[in-house]
């Protein structure tokens, strides 16, 4: 009697738990990624699309890339993709992080957004504000080792959290390597991601102010920065070198690409698909790290082997915890830091 008394509720409870778990778990058949520019920019857009493709192939799901959407309203595209039945929409631009959660609420299709860790919503909205700050720190060490004028520059196309953490870590790296090196900081515009002319203009001014190594962060605008680096000599007459972010522009290099803080977002998107299927999507943040090479410095012929070996030793120190690099996502904190390092 007592066995039966406890067994029936236990079985019923197990069934309920099983059913509720089953309802939270979802088999993902396809995912979509939405990017503002074409996925051929050797940077943010391309890495996003390539990483999503790699994650989709690994998980055996279909990828629908929506490229070149611009920086305007993407609600119609999101609705169309939701109607097509995709299981996840990755809104790969900070400008999309208002529209995407709205459409997720409206359609019930989960979205992943960037630069909004406070908008997490279980099962519906995940954030992947990534930071390659450890790589940027190494880039700062490299810049300080490379500069002849004793001044390096940071040029950014906006101040999203990822760029901010890169900028702060780069400045920390420069100062850790050589405290006498000046760091100049300039923002092209509030969201000047495709402003190639602005990138060239601002970079030329930073070079004229004495910088001979430029750490450039932009999408399309980074090509303007590179154009400035290639056509403007440093104040001492030497060549200016460029450190890129996220992608690998080696194919386009004319001898000025010093390195790049490269990102691989495949582990992040893979984890998102797994979390959707496990029912834990939207409950945690995602990260990339130099420990698993999802963040790494690009080796180019412009980096002497001895310098590269020193950088790899520093990388190991970061992995071992001997050097700690904290991300700084807040634009105001970055500006305060830059006001200090430019005055040194």
């Amino acid at each position: 009697m007592s066995v039966r008394r406890y067994t029936i509720p236990a079985v019923a409870a197990a069934l309920l738990v099983g059913l509720s778990t089953a309802s939270a778990q979802t088999k993902v058949e396809s995912i979509a990624i939405l990017v503002p520019e074409q996925g051929t920019d050797y940077g943010w857009n391309q890495q996003g699309v390539d990483s999503a493709r790699a994650a989709a192939e690994a998980a055996g799901v279909e990828l629908i890339p929506a490229e070149g959407l611009g920086y305007g309203d993407i609600r119609p595209t999101l609705r169309e993709l939701a109607a097509d039945g995709v299981g996840l929409m990755i809104a790969h631009a900070s400008g999309y992080n208002t529209a995407a959660p709205e459409i997720a609420e409206e359609t019930g299709v989960p979205v992943a957004i960037v630069d909004s860790p406070d908008k997490l919503k279980p099962g519906l909205v995940a954030d992947y504000t990534l930071s390659g700050h450890e790589g940027a720190y190494l880039a700062g060490r490299l810049a300080a080792k490379t500069t002849d004028t004793g001044t390096v520059g940071i040029v950014v196309s906006g101040e999203p959290p990822s760029w901010n953490s890169h900028s702060a870590a780069f400045a920390d790296g420069v100062k850790a390597e050589d405290d006498s090196v000046k760091v100049l900081y300039a923002v092209i515009g509030p969201a000047a991601y495709s402003d190639a002319a602005g990138g060239k203009r601002v970079t030329e001014s930073v070079i004229a102010a004495g910088a001979d190594v430029i750490f450039g962060q932009g999408n399309g605008s980074s090509f303007g920065m590179i154009q400035a680096v290639e056509t403007t000599p440093a104040t001492d007459g030497s060549d200016v070198m460029f450190i890129d972010v996220i992608g690998d522009k080696s194919e386009l290099d004319t001898g000025h690409l010093l390195s790049s803080v490269m990102w691989d977002m495949t582990p992040v998107y893979t984890a998102m698909i797994e979390d959707l299927e496990d029912g834990t999507f939207g409950t945690k943040s995602y990260a990339i790290s130099i420990a698993d090479d999802s963040v790494k410095l690009l080796k180019t012929p412009q980096i002497p082997d001895a310098t590269w070996d020193e950088l790899m030793a520093l990388r190991q120190d970061i992995i071992d915890g001997k050097i700690t690099v904290e991300p700084v996502f807040d634009a105001q904190a970055v500006r305060a830091k830059m006001a200090n390092v430019s005055a040194d």
Partner: protein, 311 residues
């Protein structure tokens, strides 16, 4: 802050101000002609973008910056032709058509760039300049203002040319009548539609060359969406200048100088929010032109289609 006080840095800032201002000058002057004739040309951003693309392709394939400007003008005029057809000839809503043309231009140039350049990102070499004797030797100002590509001088010369056309020619009178009292122009035996069409095509050519300048000289390459609202700033300049080309020049240079100032403040390590610094160009231009241009007026028939016989 001492890096702000070097000749190289000040020259670079001033040169940057000119480089940023020239596309706005061309777009603003073009828009002014269109508005004078009564057409609110919202599609100017799209004309700049197409001009940037066609101008870059021509310069990149031929190696000639001048052919680039010619192709940029043609590209801008091609978009303007659609504007003229839909708004001037068919009388459709100028704002709706203008926005549609801009969106279409963004899409088509992004697609063409993707097909043609997305794996190579070709870049143009640095431009040859034409130093003006004596003036180009003035410290800081000389290299920034008087050692430029000849097109910069031509762009500035468009200002007195347009002043002359507006004030001293029959064409200027026709343009003004097309914008203020199109029925009177029609009654005088001059075609309003032809006058407005010519004005819109001129706007397209100017905007196209502005886009070309931005791509070929400003950046040295073409990137999708690279105009980034410059056409809309041109519209603002034209509207605030209210028919006076000199004020467009002043507004464009003020805008460029303010942008250079934002760079200077940042490089100097001034710790105030970047958004505030970036607001300087917009606030400066609007404040100056609103204060000093408030007595001027916009054409009475601006934005209104003209249909013969309709009141």
């Amino acid at each position: 802050m001492e890096q702000l006080l070097t000749v190289a840095f000040l020259t670079s800032l001033l040169a940057g101000a000119v480089t940023a201002g020239v596309p706005l000058l061309l777009a603003g002057l073009g828009e002014q002609v269109s508005e004078k004739a009564g057409v609110l040309n919202i599609g100017i951003e799209g004309m700049m973008l197409v001009g940037a693309y066609t101008g870059f392709v021509a310069a990149w394939s031929t190696g000639s910056f001048w052919l680039g400007f010619a192709a940029g003008a043609a590209g801008g005029m091609a978009v303007a032709l659609l504007m003229a057809l839909l708004c001037v000839r068919l009388g459709l809503n100028q704002i709706v058509v203008g926005i549609a043309l801009t969106l279409g231009a963004e899409g088509i140039t992004a697609l063409l760039h993707h097909v043609q350049f997305s794996r190579t990102y070709p870049r143009l070499p640095g431009v040859e300049t034409l130093p003006i004797p004596f003036l180009s030797e003035i410290p800081v100002l000389g290299r920034a203002l008087f050692d430029r590509h000849p097109f910069v001088y031509l762009a500035v010369l468009m200002v007195p040319l347009l002043v002359f056309v507006f004030r001293r020619t029959g064409l200027g009178l026709h343009l003004q009548a097309a914008g203020d009292k199109p029925a009177a122009l029609d009654a005088a035996g001059v075609s309003v539609v032809t006058t407005r069409t010519a004005a819109v095509l001129f706007t397209g050519a100017m905007a196209g060359m502005g886009g070309t300048y931005m791509a070929n000289i400003g950046a040295g390459l073409f990137i999708p969406f690279m105009t980034g609202g410059a056409g809309f700033i041109g519209i603002v300049l034209a509207m605030l200048a209210r028919g006076r080309p000199g004020w467009v020049l002043f507004g464009a240079l003020l805008f460029g100088a303010s942008m250079a100032l934002t760079t200077a403040l940042q490089v100097g390590g001034v710790n105030i929010p970047t958004d505030v610094i970036q607001m300087v160009p917009f606030a400066a231009v609007m404040a100056v032109l609103v204060i000093f241009g408030r007595r001027a007026k916009l054409p009475a028939a601006l934005g209104l289609p003209y249909v013969r016989g309709e009141r």
